[in-house]
Every structure is written in C-alpha cells, then in structure tokens.
Amino acid sequence: MRLYAAAIYLFLYGPIALIVVFSFNAGRHAASFECCGTSWYGRTFNNQFLLEALYTSLLVAGTTAILATIMGTMAALALQRVRGPLRVVYDAMTYIAIIIPGIVIGIATLVALVTAFDAINPLLAALWPGGAKAAPQLGLGYASVIAAHTLFTMALVIVIVRARIQGMDRSLIEASADLYATPWRTFRQVTLPQIFPAVMAGFLLSFTFSFDDFIIAFFVAGSKTTLPIYIFSSIRRGITPETNVIATLVLGVSLTLLISAQLLMRRRAGAAGSN
C-alpha cells in the first residue's frame, strides 16, 4: 500500500521536480543535462518576446484579479440578501461557472464577443462623429481575455467570500447600525475587515488562475500572447532549457500565491474561532 502511494506521488510530482532541476542546466541542449548553472535564467530574461508575453500575462492577471475580486465580493454580499428559490438559482449558476470546462468558456466567449463586435463595429462606424475612418474598431485583445477570465474567477471569489460572510456574526452589522453607522460605514468599518482575508484569498486565486490559464486565453487573446501561449508555441519549435526555466518560474509564482491564499483562509478560520 505504501509503495503504491509512493509510486503515485512519484508519478505526479516527479516530472515537475525534473523540470525544476533541468532549469539549472548548464549545457546548451535540453536533451543533455549538465549540472549546474543559471545561464539559462539569464538568457530567458533577455528574451524580448518572452518578456512581452510575461508583461501581457501580468497585466491580464492583475486586472482580472482586481475586477473579479471587486465584482465577486459585491455579488457575494448581495447574494446574502437573496432568499428562497432565487437563491438556489444564483448558487447553481455560480457553481456551474466553476464546473464548466475552460474550453467551453473559451469558445463561448469567442463566439459571443465576435458576434457582438460584428454588430457593434458597423454601428460605431456609422455614428462616430469623426467619420467612419476615425471610428475605433473593437477586436480581440487584452479586454477580451480579461473579460473571459473575470467571468470565471468571479465565481471563485463569490464562493470564497460567501463562505466567510456566512461564518460572520450578523449581529456585528446590527451593532454597527445601532451605533449610528450608515450602511456604507458599516461595510467599511465592520464587514470589510471581517471578510478581508477571504477577499485577499479570492484575489490571489483569481490572479493565479488567470496567470496560468492557456485554453481560454488561446481562444480570445487575438494577437496578444500570454505567457502560457508563448510557452505552448515555443514548445512547437522544440524544447530548450529556456522552457524549463519559464515553467519553473510560473510554478514558483503560482505556488507562492496559492500558499498565501491558503494561509489567509486559515487565518480567517483562526480569527473566527477566537471570538
């Protein structure tokens, strides 16, 4: 039994460990491993295309995380007031958004956006004051990736923040209102500090998801290249130790964020237990 368990873990994590090790390849080819050097890290950071992809990914992930956190938190707070069958419908829709495979979200968003653009662009051209030539053309790019990612990650934020709100003592909000605080000040002074760890956890998870996503971005990124798309296309030109370096970096960033999110959620549980 123990042997099986060990074998399974080896099968799961072995390749990942191997990538990390191979990223410290001192040799010139990915196939032959020479221990040990960081020369490929240097090369990686001098790769203009890669840096551009990294910038795109950070921009998309950052914006996605901010939007998803704000809207998801707002939705979670609003859903708290919904009762009865309507609530079940909203809950179901939230979970469905998480369950739906990325490829479906990717295709659906692509079709929806392209259809919308086809309808809006002629309208813009006709109505634009500076004439049809000056009118902006809507197309796929940063905005479309961010929109698709936000759609998905918002559901994550809703689920995480909702759990925290449900664990929160409702009488705290009543106490604040009773002590003359307006609803907005109650939110800022009581609700937000109480749910903040969950909000942060939602932010970090959204960022990680968006940063790592390939499938959805592949469909709706248009001419933009995110880091996962860059890796995918560079693999087709053959694996170099550079790929290993990028993979290791992505792994590092993701793990750091995930662990932070976990710690925040645990602290949340601890703080709730102590009052």
């Binding site: 009543e174 106490a175 009773d178 003359y180 009581v190």
Partner: protein, 377 residues
Amino acid sequence: MPARSDHSRDIDIEFRGVSRHYGEIRAVDGIDLSVPKGTFFSFLGPSGCGKTTSLRMIAGFEQPTAGDVLIEGSSVVGTPPHRRPVNMVFQHYALFPHLNVFDNIAYGLRQRAPRPARAEITRRVGETLDLVRLGGFESRRVWELSGGQQQRVALARALINKPTVLLLDEPMAALDRKLRRDMQIELQTLQRDVGITFVLVTHDQEEALSMSDSICIMRHGRIVQAGGARELYDEPVNRYVADFVGKSNFLDGTVADTGASGAVLRLADGRTIAGRYTSTATPLAREAKACIAVRPELVSITAAQKPAGGMAVNAPARVKNRIYLGEQTEYLVAAEGLGDILAMASKTSELASGGFSPGDEVVIGWPESAALVLAEE
C-alpha cells in the same frame, strides 16, 4: 415627523396597535404599551412570545406590519437603526473582534457628525469605562475578556452615546448564576444613576421581577398582563401569569357560585372551595371552567394533631418530599381530595413545628384571601 403632543413628553417608548406578521406567523399581534421616561421596563415571556421582535422594532431592525412605534412622541416607523436615539446591548454582546476595548466603546461617538475631538473621545471612553468598573482596560482585545467583562464593554459601548433608551436583549443569558445576580444589581444601580430608560428582554421571571419597575408579560405575540412585580405576583390576571411568575398550586374546577369579589369553585370530586378574584381579573360566569391558585408560601403546614386556626381550607395530608433550600423548606404533600400540594415553610415556622419528614401525617390549609380564582386564559 409629526409634532410631539404634550402628554407624551414623559413617555419614551409607545406602541400603538403594533403588529409584526411574517406571512401566517404573528410574531407580534396588535400590542399597545407605553414606557415612561427613566423607568426600567421588561418584556417577559417564553421563547417565541414576541418579546425580542418587539425590542427589535424599537431598535429598528424590524419594521411593524401594522401600527405605530413612537420614541419620545415621534413615530420612528421607517427610520433606519442608525438614525434612532436608542442603543442596544446584544445577547452575545456583538463586540467588534477586530477592535480593542477603546475602539469598541468609541465606535458610536466616531459615527457622529460632527465627530467629537480626539481628546473628548478619550475622556468620555475613560469615564464610561470607570462607570462600568473597567478602568485601564482600553487597549485589551475583546476576546481576552471574561464573559462578565465583555458584557460591561457592551454596556459601556451603548451608554457612552447617552441614548434616550437602552435596549437589553437577554444580557445575562451567557453569564453564570452568581455573576448574573451581581450584574442584575449593578444594572439596576446603573439605571438609577444614569437615569436612562432601560428596556430589557428576558425569559427569566426572577430577573424581570427583581430589576424592573414595570413588566410586560407576553404570549403568542400579545400582552397578557403588564404591571409592577408585586401586581403580577399578587394579582395575576389569569392562570398563565400565575404559572409563569413564581410557583403556584392549581386546583381545577367549575364556578359554582360567583360574587363581586370572589367565587366558589366545585372541584372534580364535588368539594367546593372559595377564593377571591384578583384586582385585575374580570368576574367569571357560573359553570365556567376556572382554577384556584394558591402560592406555596401561603400554604400552612402543621402537625396532624394541631391544625392551624383561621384557615378557610384544612385538609389532612401526607408528606411526600422535603427539600431544604436554606432560607426556607419546600414540602410536597399528598392532600386528601386536593392532589399534590406544594408548601413553603419559612425558617421560623420550621423552628416552631420542628419540621416534618416524608411519611408524616400533617394538615395543610390556607386563608380564603390566599386562594385566587383565575380564568384558564
């Protein structure tokens, strides 16, 4: 807001035909009451009687579905909680866990516009902490405090705002018995010192009786009886009140004869017992179902050979159980034709009679004035 009328100047809280229905459920069903300024008022009743809903309608967390709630003579229906001149001590205190004691207590002052100066806030928090005997606790975290201390912080957090009315939602429920007694006395003293109207919600009749100037007993969303502790205890309006407030012996029967001040009841075995109507009860019709209520401390218990004189009822009985309570002794006796009767013997009567043991033959009795004729509802 309507101008306040003159006669309502001394009334802090007034309910006029207030109802709160949740669909078919009538949590509060058409109640009228008024709480004079500077008094200690209690809502008393079992859970689900509408007492908490009534309190929450004063605080503004619930809105009446019918009727009018007035604070200092002005209607507050539709006014949100943060614009009402009342503060509440919550059942589990609801202290803000992310703030320390100082910030919890200063919370209300800081919401005011204009916000008081920093020095003013510091001074008033200090004063209020002294008032609840927690001086020097400013920087403590609230979860480090004991239950009694948390309750004082909750009190201070409400009192610092000098509200028109302080609302207390079962504030003693989380305290142990000894601490509860202390806090009851302290709360009563505090109320007299600050002169603010207190409105308490409790299911503990002893708590309500010992602290309040006036008590409102509720059941199924309606007021059964409102009055002072003595009135509720000595002059209950019906069996429900007599049963809920203190202990009573009840003898069921039908009205055989009725007069202006009392009635004679026929018990199941044909025996008749006379009693008086309480000042709050309305006289009953002949053949109506009713009961005789006798407080255990008014039941005399004497040895079989020497029955007490001047008793309207004298019945032989056998002692079934004896509970020594310190200041008095409680006897459960099986009386002939009357069933089980509870009798409280004071220390002095115990010393005179020498006390009784289970199995002893005794005589129990009570004067006619001790027997109250009460309607079932």
